[in-house]
């Protein structure tokens, strides 16, 4: 089943060479300049493409599935192409070759996602900052608690299980810009952040304004069942396969936070997972890993330029929430306010700066938007 699925910029641990028709629309793009960074981390050759103005950063492996190491250069103002390689291929933001000898091929994605600096710093103490200050100082870690793979001193019970309700039957509408231009304002504003998931030919947009209230959406496309989670406290969005050991489950919000980060629980075994660690930390499935898929986080104006008629999650969730209100608004804008204690603080960057973290071999490195101006 997994080979049938090309989730956005490819499946993390798999390579799909399926030639899918890109769903990206041509555009002369007035968006800001794109930057491509070639780098090495933990022995892996990676490329990070991003734009501060367009508000995205995303990482891929520079080595293709057939073992070829590619060199990338930026392509400006020629959406959907964002970079080209030394073989003459043009690649889009999903890491898919849209022109050239490798057309239709997919780059291997890198385990990476955007989040607040403080969250990356406490989950991966002493991590590297690209072109940034080296870490100094001692790092002391607490020992895992009995029955857990993490120390529980920084696990806080904030609410009861499911007090923040996950959405299990999300509703979508096709976004047709002309309709909304005629009808007036859309419920997502241009600078609002959204999470983009592409599976095959289907692109789904999950607005932060909805995720803020639910944190987890259990969704399915064709036969592929997945959970998308967003933690408003750490600003991190990840997506994983919710079919494990041939059992498809749903995930809910446990009400626990570890270092401020949401801890989903699976409703099949009630095991508790860590979103940022991407593994099970307590319960029957302890030490199991999540099968992670890469998602794109960007602003709505960028997403609607990139995708023709995407499916946008609607506010018809079945819950009486007010999606025009961001309950975390003051939290996000206050750099000094962490809301919940964390295990390790690192002042090399402002706490709430959004950075792209790349995880390889259990180690992390972050990239700042200033690297992509």
């Amino acid at each position: 089943m997994l080979l049938r699925i090309t989730i956005f910029l490819s499946i993390l641990f798999f390579t799909s060479c399926k030639k899918e028709t890109p769903t990206i629309i041509p555009s002369d793009s007035s968006e800001g300049s794109i930057t491509v960074l070639s780098d090495e981390f933990e022995g892996e050759a990676i490329v990070v493409v991003g734009s501060e103005k367009s508000n995205f950063m995303i990482a891929f492996n520079r080595k293709t599935a057939d073992g070829t190491l590619l060199d990338f250069q930026v392509v400006q103002r020629n959406f959907p192409a964002v970079m080209k390689d030394n073989e003459g291929n043009n690649w889009n933001i999903e890491g898919r070759a849209i022109e050239g000898p490798r057309e239709g091929e997919q780059l291997v994605s890198v385990n990476s996602y955007i989040g607040f600096w403080f969250a990356w710093a406490t989950m991966f103490p002493g991590l590297n900052i690209h072109s940034g200050e080296e870490h100094s100082g001692n790092i002391s870690a607490n020992s895992p608690a009995v029955g857990w793979t993490i120390p529980t001193e920084n696990v806080f019970t904030v609410l009861g299980q499911d007090a923040i309700p996950a959405v299990d039957a999300p509703q979508f509408e096709t976004y047709l810009e002309r309709d909304f231009i005629e009808a007036g304002a859309y419920f997502i504003e241009d600078n609002d952040l959204v999470i983009v998931v592409t599976i095959g030919d289907e692109t789904k947009i999950y607005p932060h304004s909805i995720l803020n209230w639910h944190e987890i959406v259990n969704d399915v496309v064709d036969d592929f069942s997945y959970s998308l989670s967003f933690c408003p406290i750490t600003g991190t969005a990840t997506m994983w396969n919710r079919t494990q050991n041939n059992i498809t489950t749903t995930f809910g919000v446990s009400g626990l936070l570890y270092n401020g980060n949401v801890m989903p629980y699976d409703r099949e075994t009630e095991s508790i997972w860590s979103q940022m660690r991407q593994d099970c930390v307590n319960g029957q499935l302890i030490e199991d890993k999540m099968e992670i898929y890469q998602v794109l986080e960007t602003k709505w104006s960028t997403a609607k330029q990139l995708y023709r008629e995407p499916l946008v999650m609607t506010t018809e969730t079945g819950f009486g929430k007010d999606y025009t209100v961001n309950p975390y608004e003051s939290y996000i804008t206050d750099n000094d306010w962490l809301s919940y204690p964390i295990e390790y603080e690192d002042d090399r960057l402002p706490n709430k700066e959004r950075v792209l973290g790349v995880i390889i071999n259990g180690k992390a490195k972050v990239y700042q938007f200033k690297n992509f101006q």
Binding site: G147, F156, G160, Q161, P165, D168, G320, V325, P327, W337
Partner: protein, 327 residues
């Protein structure tokens, strides 16, 4: 205009000014200690024993001032309080307040339901009261006291072995300081009404939890109330319905000195109540409180309504010191 009416209007205006001046603020669970201090003056050498039952239903989910339609979470807080007050003389009285609470929070939507429960003896309040004025017509009292951390703060979720949230614990774990002042004036507005007004301030302290690795501090709490009552004499008994406006403000809670999200706020309640004094010794009280205005920080589950009932019995040692044996 009679002096007492002017005084009532002044207090009301002061209340409105204070209410308008604050911005936002906190969660609403816990044992209702501050709201049950009641420092009305009693006759000297009198032991007053009051048993209080408090039922607080929290089902209103608010974002700042806006109530959401979401009713998937409900918290029921049932508390029993025992209040002992002994008036040493006309001026000084000692009061202690014991509590036992049972709080259960249910989440129920679609096919999912869960519940968390915190049960146990709560903190104990002890305070000394001084009556500046204790006449048949006017009462003015002030009290200073402490809330001792006798209640449990280590109740856990048995499935995860993790601590329940602080506001589901029976106690706060901290030694808090209390200040209260109360004014009562009888026979205002041509002897038709009695006036009561008062304020309470709770200065909180941090409490260590989880092998001292977590320090939680509830926000300081301020309450102000004012109201009118009318006494009806029925043979030897007195029925006194009353209307009270109550304002409550709490600061943010803090976790390890960090401001805790979704805590703190402003609440204004209207309380309808009635006391029934059967004799000089026995009285009953029932009160329903309903929210009028709330401005809370972030998203909070808060009180939909609150019912408080109590029964009191007074023992006078002035006349017969042996009466306590009967109790």
């Amino acid at each position: 205009m009679p002096h007492s009416i002017k005084f009532f209007l002044l207090i009301t205006l002061l209340f409105l000014a204070v209410n308008a001046g604050y911005s936002q603020g906190c969660c609403s669970g816990g044992t209702p200690l501050s709201g049950n201090l009641d420092i009305a003056a009693n006759p000297s050498k009198t032991l007053s024993v009051r048993l209080i039952y408090d039922n607080n239903k929290l089902q209103d989910l608010l974002v700042q001032t806006k109530e959401l339609e979401d009713k998937t979470r409900t918290r029921l807080s049932n508390s029993v309080l025992l209040r002992l007050n002994y008036a040493l003389n006309k001026r000084i009285a000692l009061t202690t307040l014991f509590s036992y609470s049972n709080q259960i929070e249910n989440v129920d939507f679609l096919n999912f339901s869960s519940s968390s429960q915190g049960v146990g003896l709560g903190d104990i309040v002890f305070f000394v009261q001084y009556n500046f004025i204790n006449s048949n017509k006017t009462g003015l009292s002030t009290a200073l006291g402490i809330k001792a951390p006798t209640g449990k703060i280590d109740r856990i979720n048995e499935e995860t072995n993790l601590l329940l949230p602080p506001d589901l614990q029976p106690g706060t774990g901290a030694l808090d300081y209390l200040f209260s002042s109360q004014y009562a004036r009888k026979n205002i507005a041509d002897k038709n009404f009695d006036l009561h007004a008062g304020l309470t301030y709770r200065l909180t302290a941090p409490a260590e939890r989880f092998n001292n690795q977590q320090i939680y501090e509830f926000g300081n709490e301020f309450q102000f109330f004012t109201g009118l009552s009318k006494s009806f004499y029925i043979k030897k008994s007195i029925l006194a319905p009353q209307l009270t406006l109550r304002y409550r403000h709490t600061d943010f809670d803090k976790t390890n000195e960090i401001k805790t999200a979704n805590t703190g706020g402003h609440w204004t309640y209207l309380s309808l109540s009635s006391s029934y004094t059967h004799s000089s010794k026995v009285s009953f009280f029932i009160q329903g409180s309903f929210p009028l205005y709330r401005n809370l920080d972030g998203v909070q589950l808060t009180t939909s309504y609150r019912i408080t009932t109590s029964v009191s019995y007074s023992f006078s040692f002035k006349e017969n010191l042996e009466v306590i044996d009967a109790f």
